[in-house]
Amino acid sequence: MSEDQYTKEQLEFLEIFEIAARYDCLFLLDFHCFDLFDHDQTSLLSDGERSQLAAAARYDIYAEAIQKGFLPKSSPFGGVHEQQRFC
């Protein structure tokens, strides 16, 4: 499945999921999911809910990853988009 076949909402969630998995902090996604939806089963969420979860967890997951030198990508499939780099 190519990147183009994902919706923006799906990509937002996949990006956060990938970073959480890379930095071994998927527990943070569980925390945010439970806080928002009273369960931690992200597979049960709609695309809109996953996007909401990604927005809620974004700072928490990026905060330290960026300190460790991580440069966020625009998608989980590579290709940093210049306009979306964090500083």
């Binding site: 930095y23 902090c25 998927l26 527990f27 439970f34 806080d35 931690d40 927005a55 928490d60 330290e64």
Partner: protein, 201 residues
């Protein structure tokens, strides 16, 4: 601690003996038994609604940046707007500096790997509209196997002393409780007859 008269450290034996409530005991035991390593855990996830998490570094004399506040945390209860996306200020800026300075030392200890457990009498340090409270706080530092680090704070509201506070601004019914008639150190400070039902923090 420095001259923080409103913060008093407590013995971890109170937690071990089950006198600090089930949530605090679970958090402390998980930290101890896992040697500070955090992983996906359904019980911890359930507890997260009561937790605050911060980065593991802070400016001298200040608290670390807040990264997560569970919806049943005391912070969310008393500062419900602090984590709204449109809020331009850092969440911790909602805490008056006199309070932040008073509770900051403990974070330095926890950043060095030690746990911290205390009781606080807030007085008017949390600002206008926030009641004088007795709070119990456990701080522990967790890290993932990949080195991702967070300080976990479990704050338990033991008593609201002032009557000026208008119940809860966001939650009309406090959810799950820990027993509040437990704490020897706490009982030394307040009359048992004045103790309220506990609200999770």
């Amino acid at each position: 601690m420095s001259n923080n008269a409103f913060v008093e450290p407590l013995s971890f034996s109170l937690i071990e003996n089950g006198l600090a409530g089930e949530k605090t005991q679970f958090l402390f035991r998980t930290w101890r038994d896992n040697e500070g390593i955090i992983a996906q855990d359904s019980q911890m996830t359930r507890l997260s609604q009561y937790l605050l998490m911060t980065l593991p570094s802070a400016e001298p004399g200040d608290v670390p940046p807040l990264t997560f506040a569970g919806k049943h945390s005391t912070f969310r209860r008393f500062f419900p707007h602090a984590l709204e996306p449109e809020t331009p200020r850092p969440p911790t800026s909602f805490l008056p500096s006199v309070y932040r300075q008073g509770v900051a030392d403990a974070y330095q200890i926890v950043m060095n790997g030690e746990p911290w457990f205390d009781i606080q009498r807030t007085g008017n340090r949390l600002g206008d509209g926030i009641p004088d409270m007795t709070l119990q706080r456990l701080l522990v530092k967790f890290r993932t196997s990949a080195g991702f680090t967070r300080i976990f704070c479990l704050m338990t509201l033991l008593e609201v002393h002032s009557r000026s506070y208008q119940s809860d601004r966001t939650h009309h019914q406090p959810s799950s409780q820990q027993k509040s008639d437990w704490h020897p150190a706490y009982q030394a400070r307040v009359q048992p007859s004045s103790m309220h039902g506990n609200v999770p923090g």
